[in-house]
Amino acid sequence: MNAGRMLKDPIREKQIFTFRAVLAMFFILIMAAGLLTRIYYLQAVDFEHYTTLSDKNRMQLQSVVPTRGLIYDRNGVLLADNQPVFSVSIVKERSPDLEQTIAQIGSIIELTDEQVKRFRKRLSNRRKPYEAVPLKSKLSEEEIARLSVKRHILPGVEVEAELVRHYPLGESMAHMLGYVGRINIKELKRVDPVNYSGTNYIGKLGVEKFYEDVLHGKVGHQTVETNARGRVLRVLGQEPSIPGRDIKLNIDVRLQQVAIDAMAGRRGAVVAIEPSTGGILALVSTPSFDPNLFVTGIDHKSYSALRDSLDIPLFNRALKGQYPPGSTIKPIVGLAGLDTGVINRQTKMRDPGWYQLKNDERFYRDWKKYGHGVVDLFDSITQSCDTFFYDLAFKLGVDQMESYLDRFGLGSRTAVDISEDRKGLLPGRAWKRGAKGLAWYPGDSLNMGIGQGFMLATPLQLATATAVLANRGKWYRPRLAQEIYQGVSADDIIEVPTMHDGTPDDVVIKNPDDWNYILGAMKAVMHGKKGTARGSGRRAAYKMAGKTGTAQVVGIKQGEEYDAEALAERHRDHALFVGFAPYDSPKIAVAVIVENGGGGSTAAAPVARKVFDAWVLDFPEPEEAR
């Protein structure tokens, strides 16, 4: 068509094409060889490298959390076990939009603002990426089902069961067992990070805290195969965890319950100790709280209710309550008088109802307005005569009183496996100069002689001192744990913690018969005609010994809101009682305090009698079993 167009040459076209096609084939072979070289390089030369990468993808090392040891009472009743609890948690890295995911979960199950707030706090405290952070725990069956149905639209959301501590007896054991709770940052710094790599809970208080190392066990590891979404498909290998050891306590839940019932809802504490071992048979502080609330995290409302209650249920009165011991220390002061020789069994005095020091106009009054008449030491213990003890205290002086009271453990912490108890206060010259900047006055000694003034003691200390009395000076440190069970393997060695090594020196007196005299007086408190607690000793099938006490309220904490009726009640004296039974072969020593209970004889002694009866008469089996 075009004038200048050359004629087509089919032969040449074909030649050119054939040449180009062959050239193309040549290039194709080179390119195919190039591809194969590349593949060969990946598969043969770098095989090891990519095999490692591939294994890293699918194999994960996971911690196997050891099962926490169980806690039993002396008869094998379960006090703390582990129960499966379902909770929903979120893995932030797998969730495309965290806020939306939370909102979606909130539309499926009920979520409170507080749960979301706590979730965010936990999220910011996460230990490692890809860690599931719990949003809501203790899911009901229905909630689990609802979440499972919607699981496909909730990436990164996991419903998982974990073993969570459970306290079947709830309130009644709370102050002794304590509880576990979620580990916080501070605790994490303290523990071995490897051993706790999978652990979510740690003992926060009580036995759970003290025996944390024993109960926790040793972490195990397993290699698992997971898919790209982190789902575990199979276990490739494992090193099993070593479960925590079980602990058998000296506590008898039946006795504990008897003591709680005897307190009848009043505020106070009961501590019962087996004198022959120091084993704590009961440790009661009322009111109490449900430790199960604290395990997975207590909600704010419940916590403020507990914290702000006027009755301070979270306060462990048995270990931390520091009360003036009142007349309950008179047997020890009396023993000091006899042993030092400042008085003897014949020493008598007339009690007009008051006592006065020379050159001091102040009247030191007896609780009985017109006095006890002519009394000796025996009568003074039996009837709790203050005047006699004012005189005795004056004669003994502060240093000797301090020395004897100290030998019975007052003013110091003596328990083997309790870390939260308070020291109380055993005053002396040095203490007063240090704390108050004042010299010790003779009047201070008089107050100290009847357990008032500066002196403070915890119920645990009073029970311990009473056990030493019952043992006639023989010391056994009080202890909660009776037995820690052997671990599963031989190399599972755990350092069992103790607060103190050895035992305090036994109280040795010059004339051992003085024990009979003093303890006899305590027996007369219960069984004598004029015994202050004779009402509680009446019609008993066995003999017991005791001493009542009354402490003026200085208040462990006064109510902040003004409530006339409540305040009036809270200004009453604390009722105290210490004692042991049976008299001839003591099996139990008890200290009871009823806050604002009034007199020790009317409020505290009956509680002790019920505890004595239960232990001596109703529960003989454990004694025989041993």
């Binding site: 193309a24 194709i28 194969l36 590349r38 095989f47 990519y50 993808n57 195969e225 997971t226 898919n227």
Partner: protein
């Protein structure tokens, strides 16, 4: 053109094959290509079963597509090459209009408009159609002219290629536009454009790249290009796919982990394991030996295609058959190259193995055209 004669010489002996061969010839089927394609598609289904996570549904659907695609191939094989030749400009024009329409009224997913839904017609991708129409158009244009082509005709072909390529890039579909461009350029190369012209062109492009980089492109564009060529910079984002596919291939070793036992593919670490990245599944489970056999299969198909092209009776048939064959290899090279980390990731499937309908049908239609060229030979062409 009504009268046609077959010049194919039957091999001596083996008379019992004669009837079957002549039957295939009457159907205009090339038996060598047919067998190779059947082997390839069977291998594809096997690997797909593993790559899709043992999904019978995927395999069934893919098998149905193969059946459809083979039917399309047979239909395309029946038409005389002269029909394709006569219709080339019109098909090309139709394709261009459809491509323009896609940009206006097209539908699609993931931010790309690729599909055209016309009333009374099944939904289709005009860009796939252009994979056939562009080489046809280029071959038609050049076969009408003196060969080897002069410079102005080369420019003419380049303009023809440029229009659909730009429209496809706009969709955006980088992979397909690349294949379309390649199919057109192959026609030019096979037509015999001078080596000087090719060298000059390469030199111009080579000179333009640094100039563009230094003076024209902005920082964010440069960053994009860098990521495209170095995905490891972003291991959790765009680099994830390529890292996982290299891991899958590398950990397969010489003999592989065994069918259905590839941890990368079976545990979902390998993304797109049944579509664009399926070669990684094969490499992981069958090792280097598996990959080498598959590449060999592809090379055999390409060799057969080029043989058909060389034997074609006229320039149009030669150039079209050659271009379609070479484009087929571009699929293979780009796909394996990108999955193994040699080339940037562009969406090109592994032909006849990757899951997905449109490309299978287009590819088999192209093989139908090849068979048509091979089996409709006139005495005149010889």
């Amino acid at each position: 053109m009504a009268h046609q004669e077959f010049v194919r010489q039957l091999e001596g002996g083996a008379h019992h094959f004669q009837s079957r061969r002549s039957l295939l010839f009457k159907l205009h089927i090339d038996p060598v290509l047919l067998v190779l394609l059947l082997i390839l598609s069977s291998v594809g289904l096997f690997v797909l079963y593993s790559g899709s996570g043992e999904s019978v549904a995927h395999v069934q659907k893919q098998a149905m597509r193969f059946v459809l695609a083979f039917v399309v191939m047979i239909v395309f094989a029946q038409l005389d090459p002269s029909v394709y030749r006569r219709w080339s400009p019109w098909l090309f024009a139709l394709g261009l209009i459809a491509l323009a329409a896609v940009l206006v009224v097209g539908t699609g997913a993931k931010g790309a408009q690729r599909w055209l839904q016309l009333p009374g017609l099944p939904r289709f991708q005009p860009s796939e159609f252009m994979k056939l129409a562009v080489p046809m158009m280029a071959a038609w244009y050049l076969s009408e002219r003196y060969l080897p082509p002069r410079f102005k005709h080369v420019l003419g072909v380049l303009v023809l290629i440029f229009m659909p390529v730009v429209l496809v890039i706009k969709q955006p579909d980088l992979g397909t536009s690349l294949l379309i461009a390649a199919s057109g350029i192959f026609v030019l190369l096979l037509a015999g454009i001078s080596g000087k012209l090719v060298a000059g062109f390469i030199a111009v492009v080579g000179a333009a790249v640094p100039v563009m980089w230094m003076f024209v492109m902005r920082d964010y564009q440069k960053q994009r290009v860098l990521t495209l060529f170095n995905p490891e910079q972003d291991p959790l984002g765009s680099g994830w796919n390529i890292i996982q596919s290299k891991t899958a291939i590398g950990s397969g070793g010489m003999t592989g982990k065994g069918w259905l036992d590839g941890t990368q593919s079976q545990l979902d670490f390998l993304p797109e394991s049944h579509t664009d990245f399926i070669i990684a599944v094969l490499a992981e489970e069958f090792g280097f030996i598996g990959v080498a056999l598959l590449v060999l299969l592809y090379v055999l198909i390409v060799a057969r295609g080029l043989y058909i092209a060389i034997k074609a009776p006229n320039s149009y048939g030669r150039m079209l058959a050659g271009s379609l064959t070479l484009t087929f290899f571009v699929y293979v090279f780009v796909n394996i190259g990108m999955v193994s980390g040699l080339l940037p990731v562009v969406g090109v499937p592994l032909p006849l193995v990757s899951y997905g309908g449109t490309s299978i049908v287009t590819l088999m239609a192209a093989f139908g055209v090849l068979m048509s060229i091979h089996t409709h030979k006139k005495m005149l062409g010889k």
